[in-house]
């Protein structure tokens, strides 16, 4: 590949995929049905694959994943949120995969430096989005208990949805249009699932674009400590 990929944008997209992949990996052995063991691991693997391609375009994937401090990560705060219950994981997945699908579809259609990667990834992400939407319908319009859990998850994660549409250096997309499309799509799915679009701000001033600036939430440091511990314990070793 001869086109140079803008570093800030590659780190933002790569870190999103890396961190969400890690969170999904935590589900292994804990999923509610065997089919979801397979599905969640499958999505985690797709995301890890995307992360590796993106990080490798701007440096050594392992150095970037394992040797950066928390303040140097550029992922959205949304993707670093702990798994919580299955509803929480599904809503995080719905919010993120809807965004990622819109983003990659636009990047794939253009001729920018991310077009080749996006063309491949958009197919995977379409599957992730479908998976999240189907579960949103099942859980939202399932039992009273599942409906209640979905309401809670939708509201809890809502505050992290605004930062997806903050500007990122080197990512040339129509953010306003994408935001509108995102809102429409999520609202449609939630309505079909008998759920409502949460009220309240989608990002307070305290968090607008914060993940992209390296300002994260408390659970993230702990996640990195676990992820990086072994690699950091053996400086310079190869695996």
């Amino acid at each position: 590949m001869t086109t140079t990929v803008p570093t800030a944008a590659a780190l933002a997209l790569g870190d999103d995929a890396l961190v969400l992949s890690h969170r999904l990996g935590e589900w292994a052995g804990h999923a509610p049905v065997l089919e979801e063991e397979v599905a969640l691991a499958n999505i985690a693997l797709d995301l890890l694959g995307q992360a590796r391609v993106l990080l490798s375009t701007v440096g050594d994937e392992d150095e970037l994943a394992y040797l950066r401090e928390e303040r140097a990560f550029r992922n959205l705060q949304l993707v670093e949120q702990p798994n919580g219950d299955f509803a929480h994981t599904i809503v995080r997945q719905l919010y993120f995969s809807t965004y990622q699908h819109l983003l990659y579809a636009e990047l794939a259609a253009g001729d920018g430096p991310f077009a080749p990667l996006a063309a491949k990834a958009v197919k995977e992400v379409a599957y992730h989005r479908d998976h999240a939407e189907q579960w949103t319908l099942r859980l939202g319009d399932g039992t009273d208990a599942s409906h209640e859990r979905m309401l809670r998850a939708c509201t809890a994660l809502w505050r992290f949805t605004g930062e997806m549409f903050q500007p990122v250096d080197g990512l040339d997309v129509d953010r306003t249009r994408m935001d509108t499309a995102w809102l429409e799509s999520v609202e449609t799915v939630l309505r079909r699932a008998t759920l409502l679009l949460p009220e309240g701000p989608r990002s307070g001033a305290w968090s607008a674009g914060a993940g992209r600036q390296g300002v994260h939430t408390e659970p993230f440091g702990r996640m990195l400590a676990e992820m990086q511990h072994l690699h950091r314990s053996h400086p310079g070793a190869s695996w």
Partner: protein, 331 residues
């Protein structure tokens, strides 16, 4: 469908004579290496043995995800992390195949999981050992998957068709996992002194439990003779164990790692490696539930199932509400 059991319990004399004819036909089919299929008549004990063995095999895939998943979040490189995630995903898939294969014998996944959770059915005792370092992931791949393959390749010719076909697919993926485990250990063995020591320590801890995977010695194996007659099993426990030791010795040499057995040496006369005695007391304790992780593994499995109950209930409720939509879509 009237089962053979019903014939035996309530049948007339003619029906008993019929059963005897079925038995002769079944024995002849097995002797001729024909495959028994789900709709074929089979002896109750054959059915029960297969259900027990396939269920235990499926449970082992599911519980076996835990010791490896224990390292997913700590894998030391992204490449290794991807390999490990893919492997754990494969194991869930193997569990699914095997539960489906077992269901052809008239049981259900729910029933089998219930038996696992209540301790009425077992899983492989090997998964009651802990993964304490990253090298354990490699040792599991090389030794545990290696032992599993040695056990399972003959099952590809098992007399029960659905099981044999599941094993063909599973063995392909397992041998891939085994090579990956070997390659992981090789990287550690050739790495820093600390990495080499980590690899050696893992092999030291996993070697004997791997040999126990072949089950008790032949003279103490309760089901062996019948399973061999029925061609569910093709080789004795001790034969398979010997085969495994003979395969591992040269592999350990190329890994640059030693096997923790002072009695291990080539026996020219037998054309096999002699090896030291296995601690069958430990084996029996682990089997009885007193291994290092028995409690932990079963508790995690039960918790995943219980905490997932509301998800499964929601899926069922949603499907019931929308069964008409689906029909309309299909129409």
């Amino acid at each position: 469908m009237a089962t053979a059991a019903a014939h035996k319990a309530y049948g007339t004399e003619e029906e008993h004579a019929g059963t005897a004819a079925y038995e002769r036909a079944f024995d002849a089919a097995v002797a001729a290496d024909e495959r028994i299929e789900p709709r074929d008549w089979m002896p109750d004990a054959y059915r029960a043995t297969l259900v027990r063995q396939m269920a235990q095999h499926a449970h082992s895939e599911i519980i076996g995800m835990q010791p490896e998943a224990n390292w997913i979040t700590r894998a030391p490189s992204l490449r290794r992390k991807a390999i490990l995630m893919a492997k754990v995903q494969d194991e869930a898939g193997h569990g699914l195949y095997l539960y489906s294969a077992a269901e052809t014998l008239g049981t259900s996944r729910e029933e089998l999981l219930d038996k696992l959770h209540s301790g009425r059915q077992k899983y492989s005792s090997i998964f009651n050992y802990p993964t304490l370092t990253w090298a354990d992931v490699g040792a599991i791949g090389w030794l545990v998957d290696g032992a599993a393959i040695t056990n399972q390749v003959p099952l590809c010719r098992c007399s029960y068709g659905p099981y044999a076909r599941a094993m063909v697919r599973i063995c392909k993926e397992e041998s891939f996992h085994q090579r990956q485990g070997y390659e992981l250990l090789l990287a550690l063995s050739r790495g820093t002194p600390e990495q080499h020591a980590m690899a050696q320590d893992a092999v030291d801890r996993w070697w004997w439990p791997s040999l126990m995977m072949f089950g008790p010695p032949d003279d103490e194996s309760a089901h062996s003779a019948q399973s061999m007659t029925w061609k569910i099993k093709r080789h004795s426990n001790d034969d398979l164990r010997q085969r495994f030791v003979d395969i591992c010795v040269p592999q350990a040499e190329s890994l640059g790692l030693s096997l923790p057995d002072p009695d291990l040496k080539w026996n020219e006369e037998r054309g096999h490696h002699d090896f030291g005695p296995i601690d069958w007391t430990e084996f029996k304790e682990v089997l009885k539930g007193n291994g290092p992780c028995n409690e932990q593994r079963l508790t995690q499995r039960r918790r995943a199932h219980e905490e997932g109950a509301w998800v499964r209930e929601a899926a069922v409720a949603h499907a019931a509400k929308h069964s008409d939509d689906t029909k309309a879509e299909q129409a």
